[in-house]
Symmetry: C4
Subunit: 393 residues, 4 copies
């Protein structure tokens, strides 16, 4: 049994020896108690989709290109009508007090410092107003879970508007969440003080099924009775002056529907493998979504980003920008705001290095032509002209 | 060497900490002596088909869908002219006294309680009449092995009719069964008191080859001389008022022949990998069988179901319902009828959760369009429109 | 370091507990000193082709078929104008005294007893005449390596004719053999008394490169100067009254050339992975060879047969019969002639069981239609009709 | 922690027991301190491209061919207007004093002795003039990194011309190099005395990013500002009488551009996986490059050659010759010039053996038709004629 108090407290400076963003994944196990780490790292069920998210990046390699002038290069992009200096957003991650006493306020300060758009979670440990204060100079969106009562949902939206959040991101893939087996087996229990930021009651029950009428299905007539529909989304759009995004899209038809219904943009995501164990990898779903929504629709990617090279692949396969979830939390656990800022800086620099090597000066230069399928030996060889090797005599 | 008596006796209640149906697979090794477990878990030969059964589910992922109203959802289906509340049947599993003194009567009670159609085995430890009594309020079919003499086969059919069984399921893939190497190596020996339910003589000889005339093949002129042919099947149909199903179908042509000859329905199965080591995975064979028999022919699936998500995939690939074999026995070993009822409840709820996430309110909504091939990175990317990423300036 | 004398001497009876032919592979390590086992089991170089030989069988699964009448079934075949009771030949394996003092005379007795055609090796420990004596009632062919001098080759052919061998099998893939790294590392040295059966000088030098003129290539102007050409093969055919086979064919064009030049038949083989490390798996090459030579040309398969199911797959992919090499030696090491006879019996029965389950009464019923590719999930699903699952209401 | 002084000093003779070129990979860990070995063996980042380089060879198998007369065989080739006795070049490898006090002068003597063209590195431990002296009778090219000032680049080119180097090889894939994680973790630090051969200042800073103007990107406005462009390459060609090659090409369009711009030839390479972690395997990129430049353009291969068989595959897929990097250094560490000469001899002999077995007498006989894709079971079987197996009666 791991002993929580044997872990290090978060550091006040960036530790030496970190060579790449992913190194925080190795470091964090010295800072996060094992049951908590199991909860945060775990996916739904047997972790199949979580693992597939990472493996999907290995299906692609990146073409290096030579002698391209990229001295005018940059990573700026226009997103939702404003400019970002780089395409890394901080994904909504709940209950950040689990790994750092400053919780989301640390993350929010890092986001502001590094120019990363912050997507704050409904399930934050800190109230959304405190997060906004810490992020005063930054860009921030609010991730919204529909509440059982519309009034509660509306109240959240109002608070987000008032606190300077610039968009609402409605997460739609979590109406039903089966528990993480690894968290269960590790004995994780949500501490009472971690989950009371924005809501009165919430706690660990977020992951249990609600009750259903006697003799009926806990799923269909229980959990899903509380799940939102298109009418709720239309209502929300009419109730707020903020643009409404949808997070949790995988199927191309759902993405096309979102566009048709006036949604501002979609985030391809499977909730980090924490929703449906057996869903496609985010990266595998991404190209189909881009094809469905067309070239000009705002499209973000979430699911398995561990390096700037991963971000490059997601951009090449159709994303305008990417969200970073678990790496954010690992860095937070190691060194608070400094850690999160550091991981963002590393990711950006890794992306720049990748772009430079691929001959891409701007994000607009990145596309499917920058990638090669990793496992297609036969395709190339069919084009070889006969007798390429000339003898000496 | 494992010590049988060091195992736990079956519990009188469901143990805590079970998070999913498959957890019974982990638990059961504390309740079943190792040689018996090797016998029950083992496949024929080197377990290739048994393992392929499970691996085949990883060839597919499930599309989550958003914002679908499934509050009217249910898992009811019409099968063989009657209604079932869910598509999980209990597969015929022989010799259940090996894991629980109550044997099949426990299973039968659980089936009745959970509304699962029970398929009782010819090789049950308990007589089929006792099973029927325990299952009085339930739905039950009888799995029939052709006996060396037609009279004996007829007697079994008569007893099944008299005891309220509603269909005969003839298993046709077990004329020759090579022993399970793992069972042999574990030193498994069938106890005398496990195998005397319906037949006078049977015991472990079920798995040995019968004798052949001197100088002739133990296979062709021995075992296969006793194997049934189409004429026997036609005879059986004429002798019984019950509908006759065939279990053990993999090849599409065999399935089409069954339909053409008046068989009520077929069960795609490779006997859990216990018949021909090297046969295709059940799930790999399923789509071809559905294509061969057409959309309206009753078709069940057996082979590797370990979760509601597995069932969802089998339904999507053409099955009307699925049979659960090994999980049934693992749950029986842990907690008797309660365990079997619990595993059925978990499976159903896992299926419902999967349906809800996939936007399917009823079984009729499930189809191949709900699945994505897990390993096709190139197919999707070819559809991406050019330059999806727009720069900031 | 393994201690040779700690091994068991060959048994005088078949040991208990053997459930399948391949079990001799597990048993033999108790009977063969580790360096010798490394030499016999090893392939050339890094064992890539040796391992690929086995892995190739997993590319295919076997369709079970139902209700076929195979009570007239048998495994007889006509090969080279005579009848064999089953399609298992004993492959030429050199230096059998390494594992049993009786060496090839044991093998020869087993072959005669089980009706297996024996292919005796030029490099046998026992003289070919002794082998013939032990095999008096059997069918036997002689595997011929071209000798540096035609007179020596002719002498071997004459002796084979005189001793009742019915065909000459010329092995053509061993002009250059790189040493087995595992044998080298295990410290294997050929004992002087193992390799003097038919030739005056031979010994371990069989695997070293011959000398070349100063400044020239040990390969091109050394080893390959001694390698036979078409003229040598034509000469051999003109010098002997026996049919001449070629062993070591993989490329379809070489097979077609053999047929065109009057060779009686070919054996698809890569020398058990002991010739060119990096050559295709035998089973992968087989279908192309069958397609090149046509349906009526005698074609044998060698390379990785470990079970009757493996033989079934080779027959389905184009072979008329198969050769068994390493299993033969493992069984010889365990129980001499009895062991070899036993492994032949097991293989035949495994093949019969496989045939019966696949609905094949005779070898002529076996073909590519009996196999399914193991890794093609998408092909089958495209044929599913829409909405196969019907709801209850 | 490994202890550098516990390693062996380089031997004065070839150690016994080396069976193939790759054995030097196993041996060298007894001669190179662990941190240095990590630095030399490591790739960029997580070693994905480095590992893919090796794995790509397993995508192909080599067809053995029978009865071909190759007694006139040789490995000579014409390259860049002169004759080489074999197609193995010594790749430019920096800082060879890390593994042997004689550094590149040892390598240069071996190259001369074995007739291997030496490609000396800008970053050699020994001055290029010393290398030339040691290689007086040999063929040598000079690998050139563009220096921050054209004058410095010009000076290097002049010195190379004066010292008898016959070509300049400009490496273009190393403008940005992320550090090797394994080297960092192993604690490798470049010794001061290893890296002062040709340049005044250099040292380990070769792998760090240069500075950028405040607020700008270390990549785009830092490292890439110093990176050469087409104009620099044109300038270099105009400044030197030597032919100019480009090393580091993977994309077919870059190769075609090189040809169009008057580059003498290109070297397909990903810097041994040390440049962009995630780039395609060299062997995977090779066929596309050959197809782009046509059959008659000089094309070399670099990336993962560990055996003569690997070289055969690269030649078959379009290369005229291959470069050997890491094996060169491993052999240097073990036995200095003798080791490097030995590994070249082994590689050549392994290639000859492979050619002889594949029926290729000269390099011109090697082509894509000599290879088979390793994983295509279905392609071949579709050609099988029906019923290949004839029964006996």
């Amino acid at each position: 049994m791991s002993q929580p108090d044997a872990r290090h407290a978060p550091l006040a400076q960036i530790p030496p020896g970190i060579a790449c963003a992913r190194d925080y994944e190795l470091l964090c196990e010295h800072f996060i108690p094992a049951p908590t780490l199991a909860y945060l790292a775990g996916g739904a069920g047997h972790d199949r989709t979580r693992d597939a998210n990472l493996a999907a990046f290995d299906d692609w390699t990146i073409w290096p290109r030579l002698l391209r002038d990229v001295t005018h290069g940059h990573t700026r992009l226009a997103l939702a009508g404003a400019e970002l200096s780089h395409p890394f957003l901080l994904a909504p991650v709940a209950f950040q007090k689990l790994v750092h006493p400053g919780a989301e306020t640390e993350t929010a300060r890092a986001a502001a410092a590094l120019g990363a758009c912050l997507v704050a979670s409904t399930l934050s440990s800190a109230p959304l107003e405190d997060i906004a204060t810490a992020n005063a100079d930054g860009r921030r969106w609010f991730q919204l879970y529909f509440q059982p009562e519309r009034a509660a949902t509306q109240a959240l939206a109002r608070r987000a508007e008032a606190a300077g959040y610039e968009a609402l991101v409605v997460t739609l893939d979590a109406a039903i969440r089966l528990p993480s087996l690894s968290a269960l087996r590790a004995g994780f229990v949500m501490p009472a003080d971690c989950a009371a930021g924005n809501l009165q009651t919430l706690a660990a029950s977020a992951e249990a099924f609600p009750a259903a009428p006697p003799g009926q299905s806990r799923i269909f007539q229980g959990a899903m009775r509380a799940a939102p529909g298109w009418a709720d989304l239309d209502w929300l759009r009419s109730e707020t002056r903020l643009p409404v995004w949808v997070k949790g899209v995988l199927h191309p038809d759902d993405a096309a529907d979102c566009r048709a219904r006036g949604i501002a943009g979609v985030i391809v995501s499977n909730h980090g493998g924490r929703a449906l164990d057996g869903a496609p990898a985010s990266l595998a779903a991404l190209p189909g979504v881009r094809a469905a929504v067309g070239a000009d629709y705002p499209l973000l990617f979430d699911g398995g980003i561990r390096s700037g090279g991963d971000a490059f692949k997601a951009l090449a396969l159709g994303a305008n920008a990417v969200l970073v979830g678990r790496l954010q939390v690992w860095a937070l656990s190691v060194a608070g705001a400094l850690g999160v800022a550091h991981v963002l800086k590393l990711l950006r620099e890794e992306l720049e290095a990748c772009m430079a090597q691929a001959g891409c000066a701007t994000l607009a230069d990145i596309g499917p032509h920058c990638l090669a399928a990793a496992h297609e030996p036969l395709a190339a060889v069919r084009a070889i002209p006969p007798h390429p090797c000339g003898p000496a005599d």
